[in-house]
Subunit: 367 residues, 2 copies
């Protein structure tokens, strides 16, 4: 079973294909999608551990169809989302002879997509690329066209809108994820349910209740294909209407204002999706203080996320001062008030423009 | 007298304004063009020597209209077109608090436009920018939307198509150019005449004949305004039809295949426009060998460029081996033959697809 969703935004149009075993048939899928590479030489961008695990499979599939490939790697880990690694990949690309007719494949999780996609955006002023996600979290980045690297002063400070030509999402790769990586992706997936597909939210939560801890390992590839497709559907509907984050796209920031602060304050010990989960609960409490939701909803949200194995409380070693410091320099700040996307019900997130900074501080202090 | 040319390409639409004294009225021009910055804080990107000379003028003009500005500088010279300087400018931008509502002004020559424009393209995934050229060569970069940096392995390896929102070209700044900088820009301007405005070519050449060496210092600002506008017109007509260099835009590469090789082989001792002048003559000789033009034209072209004070022969210390090495890895190579844009008459450049590499070698060896 394979699901296909066509993404269509101002900066491009491309299909996201989700199914099991796609890596073995990359060139056939590209042909099927009528996007066969012009040049016979393709570049594959992957971190070293993903390269060891999956690159051979992709390279063999390419060879069988008469393509050559060059594998360009970078060290595993978030630190690799840097200009330095971008330069290193450009060196490898140039030495291998990739030119403006070449196609890049980004193989891996968020870092491979962001860093490799940014290489595609700027190498010789722009190459086409195809994303081959291997993590659950990557479903988020596979829609929206954002690529880029971090800067010592801020995450994602340098980047571009550069959508892939296709996303081939092989759910068979999910098997090898660590529990941490599962949680990392689950935080965003549940958020997508929460803000745009209440049935998806409820299905995941009831499955978690039924199967218990690490339910993700007991869920079939078919089920993951469906859930991923639905999470992608939520994001796609929003991004298609508002690619540049001026309006509706801000809904996707639910959980992210507090989440980013938690992520940063923990020095990234907490993973992105885990931090988003904590952020969603904290932000629903802000909505409660503003009289926009009920205590029942806050309790339900907290219990649901916890059932999914996600963290829901701010670790006690993170001080409110440090969290407020991160929040205050957040991109979404407007003067002395904050704009945030607050969860107020299952299936409803609301953009609130002028949240007094004291309300946020109170919630972070007293819960 | 002010000339305005509206540039209109797939990736954007913007006016190029040419005249004397524009730097003193940047914000008024932006208002006049109905492009007033959203944020009150603007970033100005300039190399250190241009900043010393002109930044105060621009900053005062901004202040008078109620704007604040932050001056972000980089060391003068071609070496600054690097990812390292991009990161340094991003640091300055982030520390100054520039965000996605900010406007950047790039003040200076090609490096400021390319590096500062690339910063604009990727900082927070893209800011608008306005180009304030201060060199003659910058007329070339002011049309076409190309921005980027060099990589140790290749020039302009990393970049984007990111057109400015406006170009305000203050010809009063040309007074302070060195003779080398005049030649650098003149090579491209004469090339634009040669390939698309024979009257411009003839006017410049006859003025050079009449006024003698360094005629550029005796030509009025009004005259430069007109000539620049006409050079820009030639490039604009071509780029508007073919932004991504798949067809007609290749005409602009006249003189550049040999020119780039000369530039590189001389370790950039020869400036870009000087190398293009040498390249135009060599490439007209290639056309002659291919029976596509007359010896008369080659002689006329050589004499005309020399009259303009431009170099026309390959310096004797550059070996044919080294030049061929550079040409062979040129982006325009196709197998063992080369595609080039060859000058065949005043007002006519022809794209030739399959030039045997031996013909090029012969011309570089024997002239």
């Amino acid at each position: 079973m394979t699901q296909v969703r066509e993404i269509s935004t101002a900066s491009g149009k491309y299909p996201v294909v989700i199914g099991s075993g796609l890596l073995r048939s990359v060139p056939r899928w590209l042909r099927h999608l009528q996007f066969s590479p012009k040049a016979r030489l393709l570049g594959i961008v992957a971190d070293q551990s993903v390269a060891e695990r999956y690159a051979a499979e992709v390279e063999e599939a390419l060879q069988e169809e008469g393509y050559q490939s060059v594998l360009m790697t970078f060290p595993s880990g978030e630190d690799s989302k840097s200009l330095r690694q971008l330069e290193g990949l450009a060196t490898q690309a140039s030495q291998a002879g990739l030119d403006r007719t070449s196609l890049l494949l980004t193989l891996g999780g968020g870092v491979a997509g962001d860093l490799g996609g940014f290489l595609a955006a700027v190498y010789m002023r722009g190459l086409p690329f195809v994303q081959l996600p291997t993590t659950l979290l990557a479903h988020d980045a596979s829609v929206g066209g954002k690529v880029g690297v971090d800067h010592p002063l801020a995450k994602n400070l340098l980047g571009a809108f550069w959508p892939p030509k296709a996303v081939l999402y092989d759910v068979a790769t999910l098997r090898t994820l660590s529990d941490e990586e599962w949680r990392n992706g689950l935080g965003e997936l549940v958020k997508h349910g929460l803000l745009g597909d209440s049935a998806l939210f409820e299905e995941i939560v009831s499955t978690a209740h039924a199967l218990g801890p690490k339910f993700w390992r007991q869920v079939s590839q078919e089920q993951w294909t469906v859930w991923l497709a639905r999470g992608i559907e939520v994001k796609a509907r929003i991004v298609e209407q508002d690619e540049r984050e001026t309006g509706m796209r801000r809904l996707l920031n639910a959980g992210h204002t507090v989440g980013h602060a938690v992520e940063w304050a923990s020095s990234y010990r907490l993973r992105h999706g885990e931090a988003v989960s904590i952020g969603l609960v904290a932000e629903s409490r802000i909505a409660l203080r503003l009289g926009m939701t009920s205590a029942d909803f806050v309790y339900l949200l907290e219990a649901s996320l916890a059932a999914c194995g996600l963290p829901v409380t701010i670790p006690s070693d993170l001080t409110v001062e440090r969290l407020m410091q991160a929040i205050s320099r957040d991109k979404k700040k407007q003067g002395s008030a904050l704009a945030m996307a607050l969860p107020v019900a299952v299936g409803e997130v609301r953009i609130v423009e002028q949240i007094p900074i004291e309300v946020v501080q109170e919630v972070l202090t007293y819960g």
